[in-house]
Subunit: 506 residues, 2 copies
């Protein structure tokens, strides 16, 4: 039985559902295949409408959903209200992306001559992959969970979605799936555009189910790698888009430390303790200059951290894992505790902010791994070349950030930006990496272990690309072509296209 | 020692190189990392120039290269001359793609307000992955080998390439790599843009080398799956773009069979025996209507095949594998031989054209697998629904083809096109799938086992996407941005972009 646990008391408050059986999973995947046909057949404009109805249905149940999510996660109603707003924005934004239609990558080459002889008429566009699986994340019970970015982008593409509910917020998952179904119904969709499975066994079988054509996952390195291996070991391997977490470095250059130590300390402390450090974009490593300016920065951080309060973490497992990895950090050679936040008091599982300093000469083992929770490691560099060598020891991450004052800090900035371009998917100048805007230009991804698929984003307009694959039509009669590929498409099917090598806007 | 074998005699005619040792591979990959930095730094326009110089250098050595390739493959000078022309066209075409610059997917969102609060300035573009590995294919010693499409698209993206030479044409590989190096030198490139390794052990280590950030492969299902597993099992898995072969179906609808049996038989026989059937796009399965029109088509094919001559295959291994899979087909329940071509005579390894008929009720086992060589299986359907059920048993392929006369054949066409959209990457109307044009709209790929990565193409403009990943710059000062991301880029850096959600052409 899947139970709902109150994150403020640690007590079971309800039974949500049984674990999905093998037979139930089969039936769900069968219906998902039918839904995929219906969703593709709806066309772009009706799918955009459906996404809008889904957002509205979620908003209509805002209070109920936020209350359930707050009970199961202890994230607080303010944060969860804003997360629901973001979730609805994301659904509607994906509607804009499909309405725009450039995502189809429509490309038309009329028949012609080439140095190798005549070329046939070729017309290419992207088409949905079919039913896909999405794994809800613990730390975003809405925006990266049942109604989250993976679901929104997959539905937008025309794929049906089977979501594996995260065990830390099953009641929230169920409520959200009901709202999505209500939205789909209002759009006239008769098959289950989104369905829900419960239980880790069902999740593993879902990844292996022949009907499932791709998987979206946000979660831990171990869990993600396990599922990614299952997807790869299928008789017909399918794309696995896993976001597995990251140690996100933030570099402060000498002049920036000199000029803005207090401001940076405040901003950075707020960023790494936000949501009790339970963000995949949490800055986990500060690379600060050696010497006085760096000392001032570290001491200012220590002051912030010393007065920061512990917060309730999402689950017992996550709190335990946080205290384990914090202990591993402190046991690492050259590491010392600098400051610790105020301990928590009351039910639930608490995580207190922690600041440690590490020796740049010993940046290995746990110092190169993500520790999920409100901990920040500080290491110090004496020169751009030492900074470069420290960065060279890090594994890729979702983000890297840099605080620098030009032109004085140019040498450090050059080293940091070059490393960031190699090692991360988003480089933040003069800011903090938490907070991932949903927009056309956002990229949320990075080389392994940040994600399993470095070419793709799980946030922003490009997220839709994960659920699509190209099909090329050769010498087709107009009567059999998709409407976007016609020479003179009807206004509702006119999208940006490349025709005979030239980009043409509608 | 890696030896060159004459495909017309089966005799060793020369020693080309030693197998690449582990230390040599390490050194090569180290230099490739330096080359990747130089190639990215060259910028788009100089990389396009380099691709042009490479094409010219290949053309200058055309006679020598064609002679070597003909000796090692027995494909004939006419075919190899045209393959070299295609190879050079492909290099120059990739130059056009990078000059155009839309492939960078430049996206700019200026800072602004959103329902979730202020959004920072975000600018995204694609950047090269770093050094990559390419495996040469046996059946295209030029166009899918050392100077082939994978190499051309990776160089265009700004990646250095380490090619694993195919053992069936090592001398050709060496000559081509010298020509590519000469082209790079003429473009002023000082590091090895393309380097070569020999030996299967070196190939396996190459896939696992930490410097290698992606792999392109064209070859057999078994070899490709083995290497794909190695890439996935790395501590840091990297993208593996494998094209593993396909059973490409061709459907003939009743009215088309009625009206054009002789013409289709001629075209189809030419297509499946072209290059001794050694094409990944070879049509391997004909689905013809039951009844008289289908009988006429089959009999016309039998006539074509009976008078077709055997040809020399690329290697002893390939000829053996062809005769093994042909034997397996003939041993399958319900299969009978319809016609066999004229046997070969003389040195080398011969493959004779073969036409077999199978029972639609027993479409499983070897009937659903590619048999690499000049064999075509004919199966018959009695109705659109039986056709649909046969197609439902097939695994995905690179292509599917359809001959139909509208409006009479509409029911069959609907079934076939729908299946083709699900099961293949290119749907050919009224033609034959061999011959893959290099153009903007081409797609060469498909769900597994056609390729390991169904989202990507190994031919055409989109092939470049495999070697790139997005990086997003947040709140960057203009002085630190790549030139294509500036608000007012210089004319040479002006590319198609999406700015604040709107597509803008330069």
């Amino acid at each position: 039985m899947v139970t709902s646990v109150d994150a403020r008391t640690g007590l079971v408050v309800g039974e949500v559902a049984g674990e999905t059986t093998e037979a139930e999973l089969d039936a769900l995947c069968q219906r998902a295949a039918e839904a995929a046909v219906e969703l593709e057949g709806l066309g772009r404009h009706k799918r955009a409408e459906m996404l809008g109805h889904m957002a509205t249905a979620l908003e209509e149940r805002r209070d109920e959903i936020v209350r359930a999510a707050d009970g199961e996660t202890a994230l607080g109603e303010e944060r969860l209200n804003s997360e629901l707003t973001r979730t609805c924005f994301q659904l509607r934004f994906m509607g804009e992306v499909v309405t725009d239609g450039a995502y189809l990558e429509v490309t038309v080459d009329h028949a012609g001559d080439t140095p190798m002889g005549p070329r046939p008429d070729l017309r290419r566009m992207l088409r949905p992959l079919g039913p896909v699986a999405v794994f809800g994340a613990s730390n975003f019970p809405l925006a990266f969970s049942v109604p989250g970015g993976d679901t929104a982008s997959a539905l937008a593409a025309g794929c049906a979605v089977v979501v594996k509910a995260h065990p830390a917020h099953p009641a929230t998952s169920l409520l959200c799936s009901q709202a999505l179904s209500e939205g789909a119904r209002r759009a006239g969709v008769r098959t289950p555009a989104v369905s829900l499975v419960f239980g880790d066994g069902a999740g593993a079988r879902l990844v292996q189910h022949p009907n499932i054509k791709a998987v979206g996952f946000t979660g831990s390195l171990n869990g993600g790698r396990y599922l990614s291996d299952l997807a790869h070991q299928r008789p017909d391997p399918v794309p696995f888009y896993g976001e597995l977490g990251a140690l996100n470095a933030l570099v402060v250059a000498p002049a920036a430390a000199e000029e803005r130590a207090a401001e940076i300390a405040k901003g950075l402390a707020a960023s790494f303790t936000l949501g009790v450090g339970q963000f995949c974009t949490k800055p986990g490593l500060l690379l600060a200059p050696a010497g006085q300016a760096g000392d001032v920065l570290r001491d200012a951080l220590a002051e912030q951290v010393g007065s920061a309060a512990a917060g309730r973490m999402l689950s017992e497992r996550i709190a335990k894992s946080y205290s384990d990895c914090a202990a591993k950090l402190l046991a690492h050679p050259g590491v010392r505790a600098v400051a610790q936040g105020v301990a928590g008091d009351g039910g639930g599982w608490w995580g207190a902010p922690l600041l440690v300093e590490a020796s740049a000469a010993q940046m290995d083992g746990p110092l190169t791994e993500e520790c999920f929770g409100p901990v920040l490691v500080v290491a110090r560099y004496t020169s751009p070349s030492e900074l470069s060598s420290i960065l060279g020891k890090l594994r890729p991450a979702l983000t890297m950030s840099l605080h620098a004052e030009l032109p004085h800090d140019k040498p450090v900035a050059d080293v940091a930006v070059r490393a960031a371009e190699q090692l991360s998917g988003r480089v933040v100048w003069g800011g903090y990496p938490t907070g991932v805007a949903v927009s056309w230009a956002m990229h949320h991804g990075g080389p392994y272990p940040a994600t399993t698929s470095p070419l793709h984003s799980s946030v922003g307009a490009a997220a839709i690309r994960r659920w699509l694959r190209p099909v090329c039509y050769q010498n087709f009669p107009a009567a059999m072509l998709p409407p976007e590929l016609l020479d003179e498409p009807a206004p509702e099917h006119a999208v940006p296209r490349r025709v005979d090598g030239k980009l043409v806007l509608p």
